[in-house]
Symmetry: C2
Subunit: 169 residues, 2 copies
Amino acid sequence: MRAMGIDCGTQFTGYGVVEQDPDGRLHCVALGVIKPGRQAETAQKLAAIFSGLTAIIETHQPDMVAIEEIFYSVNVKSALKLGQVRGVALLAASNCKREVAEYSPLSIKSAVVGYGRAEKSQVQQMVTHLLALESVPEPPDITDALAIAICHLNTYATLARQQAAPARR
Amino acid sequence: MRAMGIDCGTQFTGYGVVEQDPDGRLHCVALGVIKPGRQAETAQKLAAIFSGLTAIIETHQPDMVAIEEIFYSVNVKSALKLGQVRGVALLAASNCKREVAEYSPLSIKSAVVGYGRAEKSQVQQMVTHLLALESVPEPPDITDALAIAICHLNTYATLARQQAAPARR
């Protein structure tokens, strides 16, 4: 099972592709950020994010794509800009015929650290540890994307176990 | 000169393609709304808007695409949703190699009615009159999209006249 997490941002859009072995172990397949040129027009920036994410999906063939649910933002203007990036990220997944799972920040922290109110640094440390990375990836958008992928794999594994377990009488 | 206006919305995305003759007269080439299914997942809705707008651009070949600048929304959650639609609209134009012009609501009303604080109904009446339509198009997202296209054509014609005029000494 291979999941791709996407962390949308107006400056950087982080991505991480994580593979889970049948024995449950996690491996990082790919990680990085897409950073559209600062001078570019909005439409060009969105096109760069769309083609970048499409290329990652086509190259690394994740079974599913996972993305953070967003309910808040600094203000309406930032929310509109962030929404634009989120729109093209969802479209890239849909265009590549991948289903998209959405997880709240609370679910992501719970799945990775075991505690929904965990600090950002705890999430970074745990992602680095779980994937046996040499150091905490920079910028933090990468760790966020990997955390979303891990959250999806954990959720999926739990659901599979529940479905496989005999029903209680 | 042919312009396509897009009015992004989470329920309906209106579009209008308007042609301006060399003598300045305006003709409506195409108008309508893209209405993704209510039951569909967000990614599927965005894919429907993207492919719908792409088809309109490919069929009617506008020289340019124009879209409303958005600075406000009811709240952050609505802004995120609206941003997602706006993102795929900008991407559709960029993917079809069309430049995108953005106009403020004030500029659009000024260009169509001659008064930036005009009522919505005045804009609808004026668009219907300028394009010699039989009745006010419904839903209003269509009139908004046509107004954006007209705004772009007027702005473009004014700029062309300014560039053609001899410089004052």
